[in-house]
């Protein structure tokens, strides 16, 4: 990179356990008391009362999916894991009931295909956890230094065009990793995605490990991507270059995780703890060598075929493998689902004999709908409050949790994205169906602003009178799929009251000036910052970055 002027240092000796514990308070916290055990202490924590619970124990609660709500005066967010977004009607109904009983009926679908509840107070937690467990669900490792929710194609096992069914592997992986003490003291969070979707819909480019389904001589198996991830230091995953037969998938996942979790270099600082930094250090070749060393055998060479570049949202109707059945993709505006809506969708799914899936675009899919009942089912879905004729731009749009729940968010998120979509829809209608908008309230990038066609990150800016306003940085040139790339903020500190106009200028410029149906990212990449500034009606932010610094953002 070009920005760094920090002095070159001689390489340091590998860190000792002592240094790890000295430098990293979370490593100390985990050694002192395993976070997995904290659930058993709920009665004592409730007796102690929220205000007097040591913050260390609040941190440990993350391992069971709990985070402080905002303000930090006693309520929590709970993240419920759903393996690749799969949830049975009975389970979804119970989540809705829990939300209504303890969480003010709030709920949201997340980009890792989980469901999050809010407003849960401490005394409600024993009941909440009892009901989650009784429903056959878990929150173990939903947050914290553990294997997070495994993502995948929400139509796994169902879609007519999937390469093969990865559902048994998804189950095997969840059973092995979730709540496993050996994989719940990782250097940091770990994200796995597994899919054999024909559209590679599951964002394999931005997971720690992605098993990307492929066929080799007709046999099912996987190519492997490693070291992707967004957050504050984004990386597009790099290809390990190996073939993993289906039956060996779990073994290879373990070998990669072991290589990382046992290397103390990735425990000294949480800033450098994610797998992506190990891949930075070793390169994909070095990483492969380490994995093969641990497996005790070489893996066959394999390069994934190019990304198909097709739509990844699974909205609308998808024919299923099972004759005479279809899945209905349901756009959920900015991912918000009330407890009552969860219960209603669950009842409907049960009635048609289907299942429910949560997608990474924060939508729902109803599977197993008999073709003869599609129209009737669609009407029922609309009656629940999910219009199916929404402009697809809404189905593809993503906003993070943000206001009012998240302590990190600087700005409105879901509500602001909704208003921006209103503005763009009115002006451009279906011409922007394919445009992908990702909005985040902070740099943690839960809403993946680095890889949207237009990414937005919350910030603040002062007007000429010195009054501070919510503002957004506008990221362009990011994308997922066939040409995955990390975007950069070309327009910064755009006050919220100027956002609609600025974005509309860029979109109009793209629709007018694109060549041969060029996607937005390609268009924005072809234009200079100054040219984009003319379209946006405001000067681009100047920065030293636009020199030769493209290695990291273009990584394979």
């Amino acid at each position: 990179m070009t920005t760094g002027t920090a002095r070159e240092r001689p390489p340091k000796p590998p860190p000792t356990e002592e240094l790890v514990l000295k430098r990293n308070p979370v490593e100390r916290l985990k050694r002192e008391k395993s976070p997995l055990g904290i659930l058993g202490e709920l009665p004592q924590l409730i007796a102690t009362g929220y205000a007097d619970i040591p913050e260390e124990d609040i941190v440990r609660l993350k391992w069971w999916g709990l985070y402080h709500d905002k303000p930090k005066v006693g309520t929590f967010m709970l993240r419920i894991k759903l393996n690749a977004g799969r949830v049975t009607p009975a389970q979804l109904r119970e989540i809705g009931e829990i939300s209504n009983a303890h969480g003010k009926g709030a709920g949201e679908l997340t980009t890792r295909q989980t469901i999050q509840l809010h407003y849960l107070d401490l005394p409600s937690l024993p009941d909440v956890f009892d009901r989650v467990a009784a429903a056959g669900l878990t929150t173990a490792g939903a947050c914290g230094d553990a294997v997070r929710n495994t993502t995948g194609c929400p139509l796994a096992g169902v879609a007519h065009d999937e390469l093969f069914d990865v559902s048994p592997l998804l189950d095997e992986v969840a059973t092995f990793f979730y709540g496993n003490p050996d994989y719940s003291d990782l250097p940091r969070k770990h994200k796995i995605s597994i899919s054999a979707c024909a559209h590679r819909c599951n964002a394999p480019e931005i997971n720690c490990i992605s098993l990307v389904g492929a066929l080799r001589d007709g046999e099912p198996g996987f190519g492997v991507l490693v070291g992707g991830g967004l957050s504050s230091v984004p990386r597009i995953a790099r290809e390990l270059g190996v073939w993993v037969p289906y039956a060996e998938a779990l073994e290879v996942l373990r070998a990669i995780l072991d290589a990382w979790k046992e290397d103390l270099r990735y425990r000294v600082s949480r800033v450098k703890a994610r797998l992506k930094f190990m891949v930075d250090d070793l390169g994909p070749e070095g990483m492969r060598a380490e994995v093969e060393r641990r497996l005790g055998r070489a893996l066959a060479d394999f390069t994934l075929p190019p990304h198909p570049g097709s739509d990844t949202t699974h909205l609308g109707l998808t024919p299923e493998k099972r004759d005479g059945h279809s899945s209905i993709g349901i756009p959920v505006n900015v991912g918000l689902v009330s407890g009552d809506q969860m219960i209603a969708v669950a009842n409907l799914a049960e009635e048609v004999g289907g299942d429910v899936r949560v997608t990474r675009h924060q939508n729902l899919i109803l599977t197993g709908v008999p073709n003869a009942r599609i129209e009737q089912t669609e009407a029922a879905i609309e009656a629940i409050g999910f219009p199916l004729d929404l402009n697809p731009v809404r189905g593809g749009a993503i906003a993070c949790t943000g206001e009012p729940h998240c302590n990190f968010s600087v700005t409105e998120t879901k509500t602001r994205l909704d208003a921006l979509l209103d503005h763009l829809e009115t002006r451009f209608g279906n011409a922007i169906a394919e445009l992908r908008l990702n909005l985040d309230g902070c740099p943690h990038a839960c809403g993946q602003h680095w890889v949207g066609d237009l990414g937005f990150q919350g910030s603040t800016a002062r007007d000429e009178a010195g009054t501070r306003h919510q503002a957004y940085e506008i990221y362009v040139r990011g994308s997922m799929g066939a040409v995955a790339a990390i975007g950069r903020p070309v327009f910064r500190r755009v006050p919220t009251y100027e956002l609609d106009r600025t974005v509309a200028g860029l979109v109009a410029g793209w629709l007018d000036g694109r060549r041969d149906g060029e996607p937005f990212a390609a268009f924005a990449t072809r234009l200079s910052d100054a040219e984009l500034g003319v379209l946006a009606g405001r000067p681009p932010s100047t920065s030293s970055r636009r020199t030769d610094d493209t290695d990291d953002d273009q990584g394979a």
Partner: protein, 262 residues
Amino acid sequence: MSTVDLLDDYEAGELSVEFEGQEPWDVLEWAIERFGDRLALSTAFQDGDVALIDMAYAIDPSVRVFSIDTGRLPQETHDLIEQLRDRYPGLNLELYSPEALQVERLVRRHGPNGFRRSVENRLLCCNVRKVQPLNRALEGLDAWVTGLRRDQWASRSDIRKVEIDHDHDAIVKLNPLAEWTEEEVWDYLRDNDVPTHGLYAKGYSSIGCAPCTRPVAKGEPVRAGRWWWETDAPKECGMHCAIETGGFEHELHAILGAKAHG
């Protein structure tokens, strides 16, 4: 509108990775070179804050330092300021005071010690006496330096040495001491004979306004040392320099809403 060449989040992220394992003065040296007089150290005269002053002054004696004189600081804080002025000749220290009109209105409405009566009143007081002056101090800066450390609070273990401060107009925020432990800070202070706050010797664990802080006995929770009379106060507020995390302002807005602006 400023068109100054500032870091964006991508650059800040890469730098934060690069600076891991490096010493606080490495970060300061880079920052002083890069931002010059558009950079200032924020100080509440806590242990890490004075260590940073010592380090930065050694790199550039004209480095800007600012603090908020809330009007309710203990005598020991002002004594320390004088000591620092003697120890670092020409120290470029700016003290920001709250707006007189705001203080007068606050005291007229809630009395001089209104902060004792409710969390909301106390937050209003913090807002007038600390948050608003901080915002004034940051106006016009491209970068500021804090004494935040990962070992101060369990939920603060992920802070980076280089961040973009989106709570404050997306200027750069530097936390050079992020990696250090309290022990390392005190070793540094002793080794370099840096003047420290007199209240540490009297059992205080965190330094703030006189009426709102008190000594903490061994084994007592940190919370006992600041706003000990409150119930249902937001967690973290008051734990060391929470005001510098931005989290304080988020809580303030969540609890006070529009009143936070007045």
